[in-house]
Structure formats: C-alpha cells, structure tokens
C-alpha cells in the first residue's frame, strides 16, 4: 500500500497503481469529502490510502465500526451535498444491505459510491459471494472495472452518475483488480472539496414503498445512459460467429484467449462496464449478429442469467443463437463451473471448444512434470503467524475443555482466529458464519437448557469483531438471560486485513489518539462480568478458562496480547533457542510438541541433530513454547537495548 503514486498532482502521467490505489485515486480526482470503510480483504487498502491522504486533501476518512455504520456515515455526507465513498468487501455488503436498499429508495444528493470488493476463490474470505445480485436487489447501477486504469476511470465516472441519478452507484471490484498493479494515467486533482455541506429544510430522504417506482425509473434512465456509455464496448468483427460477453478481469482473459487461438476474425468481445442495468439495445444489436455467445464472468452466472432472459424475450430477433458459459459447463475453473476464479486457460478451453479448434493448454508431459514439481514444494497450511497470541489461546482453550471434561461447544467467528477451525486451532471451532454470529448463536444455545441442552458453550470472537457485530448479540444475551462464555481474542488490532485500528485501539484512521473503548467497559456496562488474561501465560489462561467454564450466566474472558508481528517490530525481541542438551528429541515422548503440535512456524526440527530448533528469523520471542516444553529445553534470553 502506498499513497505516493496516488497523491501525484501530475495529470496525464502514467503511474503504476494497484486497483485499490486506483480506486482511491479516482475518489481523489472526484473530490470526495468523506470516506469510510470497515477493513476487509481484498479492498482494505483503499481506505488505508485515502486515510493517509485525507489530511493533505482536506477530506474526512474513518475506519467505521462496521460496514452498515460506514455506509450511513458516507450517506450522511451525501445528503449534506458532499461526494462520499464507502468501501467494503462482499460480506460487508450483507451487513450494510439494509441501509443500502433504503438509500436507493430515498435517494441521495452528493455522489455516493459504494465500492464492493468480491473475492472469487475466497483467498481471504469464508465465502465467494457475487455481490452483483445484491446490487440488483438494491436497484443500483453496478460498474465493473477490469483493470486498475478502469478502476480509476470508473470511480471518477461513478460519482457523476450517482449525482445524475441521485442514488448510490456500486463499483464492483474483484481480488484480481484490487490487488493487480497496472499503469494508470492520472487525471486532474480538483481543489480541496468546495461547497458548504448543507441539508435544506425542505429536503427529505424518506424510505417508502412509493419510491419503488422512482427506483425503476432511475434504472431505466441508467439503462439509457449505458447504451452509449464508453465502458460498454464491443471489439471484433462486425458479424462475429462467437460473441463473448464479459466484465471485469474476464475481459482481459477473453482478449488473451482470442489472441492465443488466433480467433480475431471469428470472435467478438462485448465488454460490459455497467453490469446492471444491462444496455439492452446495445446487447441485442450484437446478439443478433452472432450464433454463439460465451459468458466469461466471476463468480456466478449473473450476466448469463440476465442476458439469457433478454435473449428469451427477443428470441425471434436473435434466433438462432446458442448460449454457453457456466450453465453449459463450458466456462469452468479447476473447481467446476461457477466455483472459484477463472483464468485465461479457462477461457481458452471454452473458446477452443466453441470454435472447434484443438487446443491443449498443457501440452505433453506438462501435467505430470508439474505434479512432480509440486511435491518438492514444502507443504504449507493455513496457520497462525509465529508468536501469534491466538495459538496460545487455542492451546489453553483445548486444555481447559479437556480438563472440564464436558462436551463444550465452541462457536467461531470471522477473523484470523477463524484459522482455529483448522489444525492451527486444533479443530476446536464447531461453527463459523459471519461477523458476530458465534455470539448470537451462543445466546441461542444458552437458552436451550429447559429443552435438555446441558453442554457448556464458548463463543470465540476477535477484538475487532467484538465491536463490529458481537455487541448487539451480547446485549441480547444479557437481556434474555442466556448463559455462555464469550472469549475475546484481543490482539489489539484488525490483524487479518493488515492491522487497522478499531474502537479498542485508541487511534483513528487519521492517526489521531482518542480514548480507547475497552471491552471491559462495554461488557461491564451491560452488567456482564469480565476477566482479562494474557494468553502467553498459558497456565493462567487455562485456569481462568476452567474456572469461567464452570460459572453460570453470560461472562466474558478477554485474552489480551498485542499482535505478535507488530510488537516484534517495535520491541527488541528476546532471543529464544533450544538447548540441545536438554531437548531429548524423539526420546522425549512429547513427539515433537513444539514443532508438530503447538505448531508455531518458528518451532522447527533439526533433522541432522534430531533435536527441536527455533528459526530465529521467524521467532518473535514470545517465549510461549518455552513455558510448554516438557523438558524446559527452550531458553528465553532477554536482549537488552544496547545489544548485550
């Protein structure tokens, strides 16, 4: 993430930017006055860049407590006549959706652009949602950039469109746009936001079913705009045999596939920059000239369905025409049609099949050779970072549950600690849904006692998630007298997405120091007893968990320890090493507890010596493994500042 390219006041210059930076640049050029977000991959960097530039560009930026509040803040700026941007990942749109559907009905004033980043393949998500469907539900215009340049261009255009339509416009990005870097030609930076924010006494922004008609009229207006909009474009022969309809990075894949297969004379590419509403006349014009249509998009068959419906309505005009894509099985990534990301190979295979061209994407022994090579790559599984306090917390929880002896139910949540559903957390988590869901479920399970449910319940939630969505569930639990133990895994930051601050951090997106809102204060104010413990003290944490598991009512345990990689950067870390004389190797009986079971990446195995070893370049010096080694073979040596 870098603001240096984004801030350049050098119109016409071509700068290498990521898609996220390009969106931020577009927002700057559009003269935003307000930016808000809740961090989520793959779009977390947009607000990071904007926050870094907010001061010098004279606008406001914040990390909001959740996406709904973020959107409401941005909407407020819009109602006051300012341009505003709100950035979220696909899952965040679900949280903000109630407000978004209402804003679409009530209408807005200043340009409000809602950036929603989808994560096909779920690289850093729990699901791969296609947010275009929700944009359609909200009666919104959906723009889809294909590369960083378009991300900048469409962002700028989106503000104008939003003001023209007096409604929010959704900019739908995907991971391969957000994280890809490309040359972006910069536009002009406006003077600092002009105009005094104001809501006139006659202005009304009321959500009412009566405005449904206006929403439809707005979409019709947008459709007309889309017909001649430069981002909806066709390239290829006037009468192509095969028409590729695509949007987003699929467009780049399609272009490459056509080139690779030498199909320039037979295939045309219709790129939709506006995925909703569809420019129907433009589409029909090209559909009539083709005999085969191939849909290239991620993740769900959104265009395929909507264009398919358009084709059905105009069957006589377009006949004969065959549709291919996910539904026909032609566009299928390694996981299958409609699952995960697609790539150039996916499109080449599909186009080759339609064009009747033999094409082998992996000639000869490629597949076998690749499999052989893959074997040589060290296996890496999802796991907590070295020194991560969560690893200690999960071991403590596993221990406390075993000691408790009852069948404790562990409800998970969304964050780094979701990895606790896997080996890194000893498979303890039994549920993972959405931000704060574990706490709501715990509240429900805690009410099943009269129906014979007697298992103790533990909900795990991260610090940022606590503020984001756990608080209402906690209030619900307290009000309805539920019973469970809420364990907050507090590492003091939103670690998963790049350690953005949150209400408990005591610092805002603009770097301003503010009073931290502690979980103790929040839960304490609800009358819920709160215990705070350091997870690095595993023994003490086990005792606290064991004791709290046996208590009744709603209770909270905050396992607090600052994010390991951050502290390792800030402090002089102790040197941790294995005393090879004390480590018994495979004679110990622990069966390589440190490297194999506890599983910190810094705990490795010295095969030559047959002893445990610490990878000092990875080790953060937390020393937790030293407290758990049954032989006391791991030494923690404090290193003083003067290097002694």
């Amino acid at each position: 993430m870098s603001a240096s390219g984004v801030r350049l006041d050098d119109p016409g210059r071509s700068v290498l930017l990521t898609g996220n930076e390009a969106v931020a640049r577009g927002a700057l050029e559009a003269g935003i006055a307000y930016a808000s977000s809740y961090p989520g991959s793959p779009s977390a960097e947009v607000l990071e860049v904007l926050a870094a530039l907010a001061e010098e560009r004279g606008f406001y930026a914040e990390w909001s407590v959740n996406e709904k509040v973020a959107l409401e803040g941005a909407a407020a700026a819009s109602l006051a006549g300012l341009r505003s941007i709100c950035i979220m990942k696909a899952d965040g749109l679900n949280v903000a959706l109630d407000t978004l559907t209402a804003l679409s009905a009530s209408g807005t004033k200043g340009g409000l652009v809602v950036v929603v980043a989808d994560d096909p393949g779920a690289h850093s998500s729990v699901k791969e949602e296609d947010s275009r469907y929700l944009g359609k539900v909200a009666h919104l215009v959906i723009l889809e950039p294909a590369d960083p340049q378009e991300a900048r261009d469409m962002t700028v255009a989106a503000f104008g469109l939003a003001e023209q339509l007096r409604a929010p416009v959704m900019l739908r990005c995907v991971t391969r746009v957000c994280h890809a870097s490309g040359n972006v030609v910069l536009g002009t930076l406006p003077p600092k936001p002009a105009g005094r924010p104001h809501i006139g006494c006659q202005e009304r922004y009321i959500t009412h079913v009566a405005y449904h008609r206006i929403q439809e009229e707005r979409l019709a207006q947008a459709r007309e705009i889309g017909e001649g909009w430069p981002f909806n474009a066709y390239q290829g022969p006037p009468e192509p045999e095969i028409l590729v309809i695509t949007a987003g990075p699929g467009y780049l894949y399609a272009r490459e596939a056509v080139e690779v297969l030498g199909l320039e004379g037979r295939v045309g590419i219709l790129k939709l920059g506006m995925s909703w509403p569809l420019p129907e006349k433009f589409l029909l014009r090209h559909l009539k000239s083709a005999s085969k249509v191939l849909f290239v998009e991620e993740v769900e068959p959104f265009h395929e369905e909507n264009v398919g419906y358009l084709v059905a309505c105009h069957l006589e005009e377009v006949f004969p025409l065959a549709l291919y894509g996910k539904k026909s099985g032609h566009v299928a990534g390694p996981k299958g049609p409609g699952l995960g990301e697609i790539d150039v190979d996916t499109v080449i295979r599909a186009l080759a099949a339609l064009a009747g061209i033999p094409y082998e994407a992996q000639p000869g022994d490629y597949g076998r050779e690749a499999r052989e090579l893959v074997k040589k790559i060290p296996r890496r599984e999802l796991g907590f970072c070295a020194g991560c306090p969560h690893r200690a917390s999960f071991w403590a929880l596993k221990t406390a549950i075993a000691l408790d002896g009852r069948e404790v139910v562990v409800l998970g949540d969304i964050g780094c600690y979701t990895l606790g559903a896997g080996r890194s957390g000893h498979y303890l988590m039994q549920t993972v849904h959405a931000m704060g869901s574990g706490v709501g479920m715990a509240s429900g399970l805690g009410k099943l006692e009269r129906l014979g449910f007697s298992q103790p319940v533990v909900a795990l939630v991260g610090d940022s998630t606590f503020y984001h969505a756990a608080v209402p569930a906690l209030i619900n639990a307290r009000y309805n007298q539920s019973r469970f133990l809420l364990v907050v895994l507090d590492n003091g930051t939103t670690a998963m997405t790049g350690h953005q601050p949150h209400p408990g951090s005591g610092v805002t997106a603009l770097g301003k120091r503010v009073p931290a809102l502690s979980m103790e204060e929040v839960a304490g104010a609800f009358g819920i007893p709160v215990t705070v413990h350091d997870p690095y003290d595993v023994k003490g944490a086990v005792e606290a968990l064991y004791r709290l598991l046996r208590q009744d009512g709603v209770r909270v345990l905050v396992l607090r320890r600052a994010y390991a990689l951050l502290t390792a950067r800030q402090e002089k870390k102790p040197r941790v090493y294995v005393d090879p004389k004390r480590c018994l190797g495979d004679a110990c009986g622990c069966h390589r507890f440190c490297s194999r079971v506890f599983g910190c990446p810094a705990n490795t195995w010295d095969a030559a010596l047959g002893r445990a070893k610490i990878d000092e370049t990875v080790c953060t010096g937390c020393g937790v493994c030293a407290t758990l080694c049954p032989q006391g073979a791991i030494v923690v040596e404090e290193v003083t500042r003067n290097g002694a």
Binding site: D404, L584, G589, C590, F593, P630
Partner: protein, 365 residues
Amino acid sequence: MPGGPGDLLRQVLQTGQCVSCGLCLDLCPYLQAAAERVVMIHHCGLEEGNCFRVCPRTPTDWEEMDRRVFGAPRADHVLGHYRQILFARATDPVVAAAGQYGGVVSALIIFALDGGKIRGAVLTAGAPGEMPQPALAVSPDEVLACAGSKYSAAPSLRALHEAARRGVEPVAVVGRPCQVLAVRKLQAVQGIEAHHLAGRKVALVVGLFCFWALEPGFHAFLRAVAGKARILKVDFSPESMLVRTDRGPLCKPVEEVRGFIRPACRECFDPTAEFADVAVGSTEYDEAWNTLVIRSKRGEALVRAALEAGAIEVRPYPPERLPALRAAVRSKKLRALEVQASRGESSYLLIPAGYRQALTGRDQR
C-alpha cells in the same frame, strides 16, 4: 508390556481406573489434571510412551517388581516384603503434633533433609477442607506445612518432575501405595534419559497406608460438616470420621463419606505400599503412634539412623494387633480381586496365580 497414550486412555483414563498419582502429568504436554481428574489433552500419536509405562494402573509385573525392589520373591502375600513392623513416632513434640498420629513420616523426612540424605521431598500440601496440592518441600518448615493425612488423590508426583526441573536431588517421595508403585515403575524405565533420571533422583520412598482415597467432593463435604469452625485435623476409624476443629470435635459415620470413594480405589490390591522403603499408617490402636513397616534395606538404614539420632522412637508392634492388620489387608486384596473380576476387563493387577492362591488359602500367620 508396551503401550501408549491410546492404551492409557482405553485402559485407565476412560475406565475410571486413574488414581491421580500425578506421575504422567508433566511427562509430556498432553496430560493435565484439574480437581484430581487426569485428562489427555491431545493424543500425541505415539504407539508407546512413558505415560503408559509408568502408570500404576497399567499392567504391572508384580513378581518382577518384587525382584527389582527387594531382590527376591515375596514370602508374605498379605503384607509384602518387610523386615520389621514397629510402632513409631516423632520425638519432637512439634513434629508429632503436626503429623498424623505419631508424625513419623514428617520426622523421617526432616531427618533425611537435615542429614543431607535428600535435598527435597515430594509431598502433598493443603489444609483440611481444601483441595490438596503437590508440593516439593526443601526445608523442615515446608515439610511440616504438608503434615497430616489428606484423604484425597492429589496428583502429588507432579512435584517429582518439578524437582527434576529445579535440579533438586536426591529427593524422597511420600505417597499413597499407587504412587509408590508409579515411582518404582518410573525407576524401571530404561534408556529414556530424562525420565530415567527423574526416577534415579528418588533416594527414598515412603508409602502411606491407604484403603481408599476420596473424590474432591469430599473437601466441600468436610467444609459443610465443619461449618464456621476451623478444621484442625481429620481422622478415620473403621466406623467414623473424626474432625477436630477449633470449636471441638465433630464425628460422622464413615458411611456418609463412602459415596466419595474413588472408584479406582475399589480395585486397589496394595493398601500398605508394598514397594516402599518404609510404609507408615495408623495403628488403629494408639493415636500417639504410627505403624511403621520397614521394607527395604535402605528403609532399614534410614530408620536405624533416625533412631540413633533420636529423631524418632519406636516400640514393638503388639503381637496381638498383627492378625487384625493382616485380616484387614487380606480382605482388601480379596475385594479388589473380586471387583476386578466383576468388571471383567484387563487390569493393572496381573496378579500371579501363586499370589492369589496364597491369599485365598488360610492366613498362616
């Protein structure tokens, strides 16, 4: 016979046969205990392990153990190997008052500490009515703080590993008969450096007579019995529990605590710590004295030295009391065999046929 964590789980932990001796705790990171309940946190995946080797409730070769500890097969199938049975007590009135009955265990440990024979002792701490805890005592005061019977299954052998970690050696172990057996099994483990060392660091094993241990609920029961009074000492006779408090004595029929007896104890074949160097119990006769069974040469040497130094005094075991002791022990052993047979599972009691026959016949002594 080899076995690993899986076998320990199946044969001991999941069948309620664990006696909470504490020796497997801290051997590896996977065995932990709370409220005298030992649990396996994680299956390490090994097929063989020291947890199984040292557990007093995994199969034990008793004849081999007799040979290993005493160098000969046993002649007495009721009381095991012994050289002498005596009445004994501490000469120091402070020690005698702190200890159970004559305080001879505390006196012997303090004597061994003072004389440099040991550097520490693995004991059990905790006031009556509280959950007892493992303790590594390194001074006479710390020994006295642990004096008195606890009646529940504190995993005190955990402190043996603490001693190894802290470099406190050699040590004495004072424990229930099952704990004595565990220490002997640890000492028998060959070739695995650390645990072998931990076993070798034990210079003296003092066994306590034990006909059963009670589950932790007993401590709360005791607090309820005492009410606001402070409990000074607890004692059991065959019929009743006597609680001495600062507000006077309280008495409860023993039936009221029977429900707390640890199920594993019902299968115990060794109420008098047959593999200890010396074993100590009540006399069921004279509250001021202990029964002292000198079993090994090492135990004999210690007692002789303690006598010469005037740390303890002894008197002959009244011959007319011996049949009662033998009968109680014999009947306990026979009950254990019955319970085990009724459970119909493999057990730690790989009692040789000869041992059984000697028991079921008439006691000749």
